[in-house]
Symmetry: C2
Subunit: 404 residues, 2 copies
């Protein structure tokens, strides 16, 4: 498995584009993106569990209920959520795009991200679709990745090459997500393409299994969005024998999918709203996988710990506190905690009690921009990781006046 260029265009037969169509006021920001496959794809998706759902979620769910799709269209600047005519706008978007591409409207995945509760005009979208389609290209991934950004400060894309039965396969993805990120069974927006041949059933299985270890272990601010969506399109153009059961080929694919998802998780966490640091909590020594996950996620979600990490303060008591209220059943007297970064590693707690440590070294470690919080529960062999970011002045600034 190796990293390659091209993002969602790395897989054979996929092209992409991104333009400014006028939904966002700032004309230098792209606000409409398209990903397109030359041939029909197996399609799988997971969605937000928030009861308040964006209209595009309903429409996409129906469109890919047959397990197939060919195009993904996504706008930023407006979530098309809590609007009386939201569904109509999402359906029209699919129809106009489908006509321009010469495909069925039922093969279009539609997504929106941005402010909730402001009507979304169809005009800029319908006016923009002809040039969006005209600009489709193998080099279009950067533009597409830009077109789905809201408060993100960095494009998020990745692509990998791997082998199935002697055939080279490719898989790549783009993501957006910076605030309102606390995925639960689904997540912000992630679009993944692959040329692996895989049946819709196996694709769904691979995606829903992996999500639990990746995007569901990510939290920026504890707020589960209304528009979360992860979609994978697989067009089979790599020419491998189609994966239709959980064999070695399936495992190879699942491993590549996991590598893409972990990369995108880390990129999203590092670019969390206002973040200066990527935080990763690695829990080991748990009695069950579920305990490991509960603990990792609880630590990564603690506002107090997030603020301490911003201040490079080795306040390990807050790690213990977050473990204690995680809801997991565990023995607090066997817990060990260390902080780790490129600058080194330092043990701060053993058997649930503080150990003497150098505040100077701790500070040096915590001043780095990628911090690993190592928690050893000391009573089993299961482990899990969760990703998040620090809580900063800029998070408050960005969210104190986002809408107006």
């Amino acid at each position: 498995m190796k990293t390659i260029d091209g993002g969602v265009c790395a897989a054979k037969g996929f092209s992409a584009s991104g333009i400014h169509c006028g939904i966002r006021k700032n004309k230098t920001k792209r606000d409409l993106s398209l990903i397109y496959s030359e041939t029909q794809c197996s399609a799988a998706a997971v969605y937000t569990t928030n009861l308040v759902k964006g209209a595009p979620i309903e429409v996409t769910r129906e469109n890919i209920s047959d397990g197939f799709a060919r195009a993904i269209i996504c706008n930023s600047g407006n979530a098309n959520t809590c609007n009386a005519d939201g569904r109509t706008v999402a359906e029209k978007t699919c129809c106009i795009l489908a006509e321009e591409l010469g495909i069925s409207p039922k093969d279009v995945v539609v997504a929106s991200t941005g402010v909730i509760g402001q009507p979304l005009d169809i005009e800029p979208i319908s006016d923009g679709i002809p040039s969006l389609v005209a600009e489709l290209s193998k080099d279009g991934c950067d533009s597409a990745a830009e077109g789905i950004m809201t408060t993100d400060t960095k494009k998020k894309e990745i692509a990998l090459e791997f082998e199935i039965g002697g055939r080279i396969c490719r898989i790549g993805g783009i993501a957006k997500g910076s605030g309102m990120i606390h995925p639960n069974m689904a997540t912000m927006l992630v679009f993944i393409t692959t040329d692996t041949a895989i049946s819709p059933d196996m694709l769904r299985k691979a995606l829903s299994g992996d999500i639990k270890k990746t995007f569901n272990m990510l939290s920026i601010d504890g707020d589960t969005s209304t528009n979360d969506m992860v979609v994978v399109l697989a067009n089979g153009m790599a020419g491998n024998r189609e994966i239709t059961e959980e064999n070695d080929d399936y495992k190879a694919f699942a491993q590549a999918l996991n590598a893409v998802n972990v990369s995108l998780c880390r990129m999203i966490a590092a670019d969390g709203e206002g973040a200066t640091k990527l935080l990763e909590c690695s829990v080991s020594g748990a009695e069950t996988e579920s305990v490991a996950k509960q603990v990792a996620k609880s630590v990564i979600c603690s506002s107090l710990l997030k603020a301490a990490m911003f201040g490079a303060d080795a306040n390990w008591g807050r790690v213990l506190c977050a473990i204690g209220y995680s809801g997991a059943q565990l023995d607090v007297n066997t817990i060990g905690v260390s902080f780790k970064s490129h600058a080194g590693v330092i043990e701060v707690c053993r058997n649930g009690t503080g150990v003497d440590f150098s505040e100077e070294l701790a500070k040096k470690i915590l001043l780095e921009n990628e911090i690993e919080i190592l928690v050893d529960l000391g009573c089993g062999q299961y482990s899990a990781s969760a990703w998040g970011c620090d809580l900063t002045y800029d998070y408050v600034k960005i969210n104190g006046d986002y809408r107006t």
Copy 2:
């Protein structure tokens, strides 16, 4: 029922004191408080559900397991949590105080608040106890309220007078709590005294029933502390017939207890770390009380909404979003939302969809320092309230470097 002066000293037979004994470095800050009753009291308490518990919690739980107590001692500046000798220090504190007061160590409630995981020396406490006892007085409530403060900016005290069977009874309380506040079955530190005659069983029942509607509906930052504790002492000196069943006298007492607890909740929320505004979410029209509570608490906990309130931004989409991920089963198409303050009230969402409103008036309403978020679920007759505060630069500042 009317408000009176005196806090925890308002009830007959109670006195209090607070001194600087040397746990905190700043000599102008009191760090040790005492509340004492002339006679034996019925005692009831609820504690944090965090698995990581402060040593004082264990000791207090054992001491009042018989339903009785006479004194409460509490230090600030150190939580005495995750320390190898924590239990010994808490027990010694009880013994030294009991000897000085001439009571049994088993009648002492001990509590600590402050940083987790730093050893607590017994010396400043044992050295301080003689003057702490010497300074006990009917005017000591202010000093006691100060001695339990950490990052609090304001003392929190309240007292009420009410009638049971023709007898005047008094109830009063003090509280501390500013960060790490997301009570679950218990809360930060709250000490309540009353001269009502009530059996330990009935006192426990009244307290544990009321907590669910008051302190468990309060959240500053989503972090459940390791040292939460609410204690009520009732010495019976009002001379009412002892309450031993759920009769009208019980109801009168429960009502007074609720009024004290709601007052303290509002004071704690308004003085949340870094807060500039008290937020109250009042949910009505719910199908069950549990739905009303889940929704109210989810709204009050949303970091995004808290930041929007700091920015006086009427971003009601974030209210809908938080309702949607609350976990409560409900119909999102009947939800109505309004914002209310001393400056007026404004409807922003009806039937799950935005309504036109004056941004100018909304801004004026949200610039006040007490904001009510009114949510009508439109499908039942149950209601609930939750309290919290806005998320500000100062929350990050306070918690970015609290320990060092």
